[in-house]
């Protein structure tokens, strides 16, 4: 099966720092793939590359098997890849419907739209309402400014925007990091519902319980490259933590082995 989104041998250097060092990536149809890694492992750079915000120095990206070149977030978006950024990228003072359609507003058909550029505000509100309902998000009014919403509701709006426009992939960067327990649970539900709609999700998260609750596969990133892909069904949280800290290593045959610790102190 061809992966929906794949990357091979990605390299990105910032001066002397190598943020990505031959990173590979595969996302299959209909799955939730978690990307985990320690701080500074290069997860963000990988994700930004896949969402078009970072242009890699080397390596290739394929969408449904076809090689693509992203020069900016808009290019990735044109290929149906939508990203929910960690700071959500919402205009706080503007209302929900406006935010959902920001940058791709719908105009009225006919003369009013073509000549007077009149926006189809009612249509956009109805569409925003429909998407939120479909994802089971209850928000009273589409004309509420985003800043009047709770953190979880804001996250839901950003996720709904991605789900509404993403036709191939939804990427989410730490969607539960700023949320409480109840709100996190709702966002995880939301991810599950997006998967049910047939959209694969890339979930970047530090939170192992969340990852193990929702992910079908876990991509472990370490020192700028993918070191393992494991299934939460066959592997434990401790094994994943071991892999991402480097205490464990996945051998070529897929078995996990301990790495001999050489601290240099017992010499």
């Amino acid at each position: 099966m061809t992966p929906v989104l794949a990357a091979k041998g990605l390299v990105k250097r910032y001066g002397r720092v190598t943020a990505m060092d031959g990173a590979d990536f595969d996302l299959n149809a209909g799955e939730v793939l978690a990307v985990v890694g320690d701080n500074g492992a290069g997860k963000s750079t990988l994700i930004k590359t896949l969402s078009g915000a970072v242009i890699p120095d080397e390596g290739e990206i394929r969408v449904n098997g076809e090689q693509v070149h992203f020069h900016g977030p808009l290019d990735a978006r044109k290929h149906g890849i939508e990203t929910v950024y960690q700071d959500l990228a919402l205009a706080q003072a503007q209302d929900i419907a406006t935010n959902m359609f920001l940058g791709r507003e719908k105009r009225r058909p006919g003369f009013l739209g073509a000549v007077f550029r009149l926006l189809d505000s009612g249509g956009m509100r109805a569409e925003a309402r429909r998407v939120l309902d479909e994802l089971g998000i209850t928000i009273k009014s589409m004309t509420q400014p985003v800043e009047t919403l709770s953190g979880g509701q804001r996250q839901a709006v950003a996720v709904a925007r991605a789900a509404a426009f993403g036709t191939r992939v939804v990427i989410m960067d730490e969607p539960t990091a700023a949320l409480g327990v109840a709100e996190s649970a709702k966002v995880l539900d939301l991810i599950g519902r997006i998967r049910e709609r047939g959209l694969p999700v890339v979930l970047i998260s530090h939170n192992m319980p969340h990852v193990f609750e929702i992910a079908d596969r876990v991509h472990v990133h370490r020192l700028g490259r993918r070191v393992a892909v494991v299934s939460p069904k066959t592997h434990s949280m401790n094994e994943v933590v071991g892999l991402l800290t480097g205490a464990l290593r996945m051998a070529d045959d897929g078995t996990i082995e301990e790495v001999g610790v050489t601290t240099g102190l017992n010499r």
């Binding site: 706080q92 003072a93 503007q94 920001l102 940058g103 507003e105 926006l119 004309t143």
Partner: protein, 323 residues
């Protein structure tokens, strides 16, 4: 049941409500305390006196919505008046052509300002401060110590009067200002262009990630503002048919005053042009009313200053409760 909450949300979402109430209160107070304020001629005059600042404030609102500020707006308008007047007087150019040249030059200055702000990512305060100094100097050089009377009918057109119902004095300038405010209100609230202006002022990074061309949007704002300043020059010649390089020296600050009193946030992304219209009228009503009440000009300045600070404080206070 939730009507109180809904009502307060409506007020938060309609920032022109507070200033509109203040305007009504001011009109009522002056109508009661003075004999001369409340009559048709005086009210018409109040509106006429707000035309130039009101038009400058319209462009200023656009810039402030993008979290910028324009210190050069009045200087640009003054330069445009000189250009229009001198071209008709000395080159014998038809008024229409001189008018259009004046507006295009104002737009071009706006484009340069916007180009510097977006191209070099410099703060608008500094860029427009520089433009203020440059344009003022160029105006004085161009005028060479003179002022220029305007005799052309086209340039003076906005000062012409019609009488509605036989007694209400209405100038074409009043009509034009109203049309411009409605037009810009429409563009800001009913088109994608306007939504993008608000988004850019609100959070430029979020706007960029949403696929908005932030620089293009900003540049557009400065060019449109320039066109508006060019039209403010036309309004000025309609009011006083004389192009004077020393006119409207405080026009930039007066326009900011109108914007702020109108409830538009200096932090960008919040506010409305309708509020600015009300703000410009409040200042004019205050000036007129205090004059009729026999209060000195300088005390009127004090009152206006107090009003500005109060308006910003109200903005801050309401925002603080919201968050």
């Amino acid at each position: 049941m939730s009507t109180i909450k809904e009502r307060s949300e409506f007020i938060l979402r309609t920032p022109a409500i507070g200033p509109a109430l203040a305007l009504v209160v001011a009109v009522v107070v002056f109508s009661i305390t003075t004999d001369t304020f409340l009559n048709v001629d005086n009210l018409s005059l109040v509106v006429q006196q707000s035309l130039v600042i009101g038009t400058l404030a319209l462009g200023q609102t656009l810039v402030i919505l993008t979290s910028g500020i324009d210190l050069a707006n009045a200087a640009i308008a003054v330069f445009a008046t000189l250009l229009m007047a001198k071209l008709t007087l000395e080159s014998g150019m038809p008024g229409v052509v001189a008018l259009l040249i004046g507006i295009v030059v104002a737009a071009a200055i706006g484009a340069v300002t916007g180009g510097i702000v977006t191209g070099f990512r410099l703060p608008p305060f500094i860029v427009t401060l520089g433009m203020l100094t440059i344009v003022t100097a160029v105006s004085r050089i161009y005028a060479a110590g003179q002022s220029f009377p305007v005799t052309d009918d086209t340039l003076g057109f906005l000062g012409q009067k019609q009488y509605l119902f036989g007694q209400v004095e209405v100038t074409y300038g009043m009509v034009l200002m109203l049309v411009m405010y409605i037009g810009l209100w429409y563009a800001l609230t009913r088109t994608a262009w306007g939504k993008h202006v608000y988004a850019v002022g609100n959070d430029p990074e979020a706007a960029r990630l949403s696929g908005i061309h932030v620089r293009r949007s900003l540049l557009g704002v400065y060019v449109v503002a320039g066109v508006i300043y060019g039209i403010a020059a036309w309004q000025a010649l309609g009011r006083v048919p004389n192009a004077d390089p020393n006119a409207f020296q405080l026009g930039n600050l007066d326009s900011i005053t109108a914007v702020v009193i109108g409830g538009t946030s200096l932090f960008g992304g919040r506010g409305s042009v309708i509020g600015t219209l009300v703000g410009a009228l409040i200042v004019a009503v205050l000036r007129s009313g205090l004059t009729q009440a026999g209060i000195d000009n300088l005390y009127q300045d004090v009152a206006t200053g107090v009003l500005v600070i109060a308006a910003v404080a109200v903005d801050r206070f309401s925002r603080g409760r919201q968050r």
